[in-house]
């Protein structure tokens, strides 16, 4: 394992040789100056997976990405975290057979794009063992610590550089994760949650507008939807007029971002969907991909106009204004404002759960797709209530399995809805696709794909009964009643 030590002042190779002798000797040193640009996703997925990635400036960061890192980041884009200049003196450490057992580097480090005052990072002594020589490096570490002013690095270079630039090395989280107390006034608790959700929407806006990756818009929309759930389910804590206006505006924001998100999902799924048609027909779907790309570009342009316009800015301001005023408003027209949040949110969780039981019981394999869609919407409402209020206020051991049972049901409903929408969208694309070169063949391949999607939707409908039974079991009902007594 590579060992990194922090030194107050960079030691010389000679001093290292004295400290490590006579067991190890230091070979001839080589001076190098290199630059490293550290990368991570907006939400720090590499950091959270315990991974690190850097590239020299000018090299695309994805070019040399390890398989593990590729897996960890998924669809997210890599963004520069810090640009570090490394002036190093590197030499081999040799054993009594004059065999190289490790390489030692004395590194003088600075941030390349920071003010002079912020630029300097602490010098490091880095020991990289050759395979099979870990114990020699372990001995060297102990000797350097004992004989030179060195200590184990308390931060990786990437962490130190990010912190030096005033950034959080763990990235920017879109999780809500706020502290609530069961006896807190409901309007105050709702304010805390909505403030964080407003922040998450704002954090994800620049990446959405710049189209950095598809997750910005996804996280933007999830936060928006959660905020709408709070406004709807806890409506009694807000002043009715302002509430109605804000709900209308957030609904509008959701609507103007919808088409681009649907197309993102379609394009992300495209290769998987394409794999569903016979191999010889797969290339024939290329015109469909082209048309989807054109439509996405158009949807993005329209979304930029909407989100960059006055109405969107005003909606976000109204949101903040209402939160600022909320604690000072009279309670007269806010019947639930002073109730304990545990009491109110438990009541809402019970109500939505009961509503779902009723809706689900009425669904049969012959029901219209809309019936499934409506149930899924309620499922999202319940999930957000559980995440926003259930988890912070109740025992996680009880709430988590409940969320899991709900997730099982939502997966089936989600698959049904996605396939249904995708089949409808494909049909809607037929005119555009037929006008493309190779359109006629594409239409035939689309026919096969539509059939596959409809089969998937039918399979999801067939699975529904089983997952709904788990969700609505007597045990689950009892658990909901017990946990969310209020």
């Amino acid at each position: 394992m590579t060992v990194e030590l922090i030194a107050a002042e960079p030691p010389s190779l000679g001093a290292i040789g004295v400290a490590l002798g006579p067991a190890l000797t230091v070979g001839a040193g080589v001076d190098t100056t290199t630059e490293r640009v550290f990368y991570d996703t907006f939400d720090g997925l590499l950091y959270q997976a315990g991974l690190e990635h850097w590239a020299v400036p000018g090299i695309a960061p994805r070019q040399s990405l390890s398989e593990a890192a590729r897996e960890a980041i998924g669809v997210r884009a890599l963004l520069p975290v810090a640009h570090v200049r490394v002036r190093a003196k590197t030499a081999p450490l040799l054993d009594s057979l004059q065999k190289t057992v490790a390489r030692v580097s004395i590194e003088r480090l600075e941030l390349a794009q920071a003010s002079r005052a912020q630029r300097r990072l602490r010098p490091r002594v880095v020991l990289v063992p050759l395979r099979g020589y870990d114990s020699e490096v372990e001995d060297a570490r102990r000797l350097l610590q004992a004989k030179l002013e060195c200590s184990d690095a308390d931060q990786s270079l990437r962490e130190e550089a990010a912190i030096g630039l005033g950034a959080d090395p763990a990235g920017t989280s879109s999780a809500v994760d706020v502290a609530l107390s069961p006896v807190q006034r409901a309007d105050e608790a709702a304010g805390v949650v909505l403030t964080r959700l407003h922040q998450v929407v704002q954090l994800n806006l620049p990446g959405t507008l710049d189209d950095v990756d598809s997750e910005f818009l996804h996280d933007y929309r999830v936060a928006l939807r959660k905020a709408r759930t709070v406004l709807r389910e806890l409506s009694g804590v807000f002043p009715p007029e302002r509430l109605a206006a804000l709900r209308g505006e957030l609904k509008w924001l959701q609507a103007v971002t919808g088409e681009r998100r649907d197309l993102d999902v379609y394009i992300l799924d495209f290769d998987l969907l394409r794999a569903r048609v016979p191999t010889e027909q797969q290339p024939e779907l290329e015109p469909v991909k082209r048309v989807l790309g054109h439509r996405r570009a158009a949807a993005h342009t329209q979304m930029l106009k909407d989100l960059g316009g006055r109405r969107a800015r005003r909606a976000m301001n109204d949101w903040t204004t209402m939160l600022e005023y909320l604690p000072r408003l009279p309670d007269d027209d806010r019947p639930d404002a002073a109730r304990a949040i545990d009491d109110l949110s438990s009541e809402r969780i019970r109500t939505v759960y009961r509503r779902m039981l009723k809706m689900g019981a009425g669904i049969t394999p012959g029901s219209e797709p809309e019936a499934y869609h409506e149930l899924r919407k309620q499922g999202k409402e319940l999930r957000y209530l559980l995440e926003l209020f259930g988890q912070p206020l109740h025992d996680a051991r009880v709430v988590k399995p409940m969320v899991k049972a709900l997730k099982g049901l939502q997966d089936v409903l989600g698959r049904h809805q996605d396939r249904d929408i995708q089949a409808k969208m494909l049909r809607g694309l037929a005119d555009r696709v037929s006008a493309e070169p190779g359109g006629a063949q594409a239409l035939m391949a689309m026919g096969v794909l539509v059939q596959q999607l409809e089969d998937d939707a039918a399979a999801a409908r067939a699975e529904f009964a089983k997952s709904f039974t788990a969700f609505s079991s007597g045990e689950q009902r009892e658990l909901v009643k017990e946990t969310f007594r209020g």
Binding site: K99, T100, P129, G132
Partner: protein
Amino acid sequence: MSKVLATYNIKGGVGKTSAAVNLAYLAAQAGQRTLLWDLDPQAASTFLFRVQPKVQGGGRGLVRLRTVVAEQIKGTDHEHLDLLPADFSYRHLDLALDSFNRPTSRLGRVLEPLQDEYDYIFLDCPPSISLVSESVFDAADALLVPIIPNALSARTFEQLEQLAAGGKQAPQVLAFWSMTKGRRRRHRRAMAALAEGHRLTMLEAAIPTSEDVEEMGEERNPVAVFAPRGEAAKAYEALWAEVQDRLG
């Protein structure tokens, strides 16, 4: 999946270790992840790479799969080139192998966990006809056989052919002239005579008797490191190019 190449000859002192060390070095220099397993208890390859000839649990521990092979590997001073060292206990490897039902499959089993980690695995084998060599034939994709051009060559070929054909999956046998003294024409004649009636492939490349090869022991390095423009270094390059060509 790595390609396993074994340098082998029944006779000693014909240039097996030199070939293993130099070819493994060339593979690694080209960026291929390469391992050399020094199976010879005399530990000449291990010595050349300045590594201690020591394996925890000895040869028995390895073939019984009690020792984690990956933990015994040592990085050499050369990038992409690792060594699984020799151990004095390898002189009893035959006995250790003999205790298994299917002894000849054991070396392959030892190498199994390394198959994705390396592009090439070289086996530097001791000179003998034994269970160890039979196990090598089972594990190897190809045998690289150095042949000294003299009267015994034909007999060596016959023995090799019999042995290699006896394995479960007969490896490709690539023979090359070793320790030659510049009389190429004579070698070609001998080669033509040998090729008749043999299924073995005789390669074009020939490794000359050279001071550079002898100096490897002093320098403790492959010839390409200390005499890159020498005749020997060039001969090994030509040999490696031909071997890769034959492996496809």
